[in-house]
Amino acid sequence: MADTTSVGLVRGLYDYHWWANHRLFGIVRGLGEETARRDVGKQFSFPTLKGMFAHLYAADFLWLSRWQGVTTGRLLGDADFATLADLRSRWDRLEAEQKAFVDGLTSADLDRVVSYKNTEGKALAGPLWRFLQHVPNHATHHRSEIATMLTIISGSPSDSGIATYASETSGR
């Protein structure tokens, strides 16, 4: 039975987020480091597959820090990761921390006001639940670009939508 509580919904969404990120990352690792560093075009938010994944990591890292009330520095980027393998090991640690945070949420936590400074130094604040919705949605936007880049490089990757996720993980 699906957990339709508010925190159940958030946990389900993050389980999907990790599943979809891993699915595409696995494909890119299979193509190798050189392909991941190839410039695929300026029309994308970041021109390489590695840069796109580095941005996904960086956003997850920045938002988790904000949720935890930790002061954040600049947004990390492609240059902060030597290789995809380097990114993977740091991302695994971040995901474990993110999972502990999401697993520990109570319904009262969701309304907590998170105050932070954005990357331009402007002070902003909002309820935690809204930011919890933002991060997976942001990742879907950039995974779509990764899917387009992969289609250019090697062919259309397997679907990473929520309906496919729900079907593959529920066994129904």
């Binding site: 389900g12 029309q43 309820p127 936007h141 309906a163």
Partner: protein, 179 residues
């Protein structure tokens, strides 16, 4: 103040969904029908900006029938719309129906099982996908974000990077902040 409920989170997600769909649509309309119908590459899910918008609308339209267990389902096609401008009025009407459904959701509805037959990703045994309504609700909004990203790339190619459609942008604009 009571804790935020699942239903409130779904409503907020759909408020975002409608805003984020309209924002690049207005940009595309301003670029004109020729640009919206231009072939921009086979590496996109659909090769034209118009085709991408009609796919988002068609998916919303299809899933709405699944949410309500309507059978047989009616599927919209890009060729049903001669122009991008012709999409707006029926999509507006549909959005009102979709919004009414979302507004009247009750907590008990969210665990209900929804069935869906995919043309793009059919199951090997031909059976429908089954998922709880709340997953199906999240799916539709997430699906649109995926294709809006392609639209943003396409608009970047034809005229320059469009205004952002991040969920936090919607959140802070709702509070009177600029981009």
């Amino acid at each position: 103040m009571a804790d935020v409920t699942t239903v409130e989170m779904v409503r907020a997600l759909y408020d975002y969904h409608r805003w984020a769909n309209r924002r690049p649509f207005d940009v595309a309309i301003a670029l004109g029908e020729d640009v919206a119908a231009r072939e921009l590459g086979k590496h996109f899910s659909f090769p034209t900006i118009k085709g991408m918008f009609t796919h988002i609308y068609a998916a919303d339209f299809l899933w709405f029938q699944c949410w309500k267990a309507v059978t047989p389902v009616r599927r919209l096609k890009d060729r049903d719309f001669p122009t991008l401008a012709a999409v707006r009025a029926p999509w507006d009407e549909f959005e009102k129906e979709q919004a009414a459904f979302i507004e009247t959701l009750k907590p008990a509805d969210l665990g209900r099982t929804v069935e869906f037959v995919s043309v793009a990703y059919p199951r090997p045994d031909g059976r429908p996908y089954q998922l709880p309504l709340w997953s199906a609700l999240q799916h539709v909004a997430n699906h649109a974000t995926h294709h809006r990203s392609e639209i943003a790339t396409m608009i970047t190619m034809v005229s320059g990077s469009p205004p952002g459609t991040d969920l936090v942008v919607r959140h802070f604009r709702g509070q009177g902040f600029p981009d």
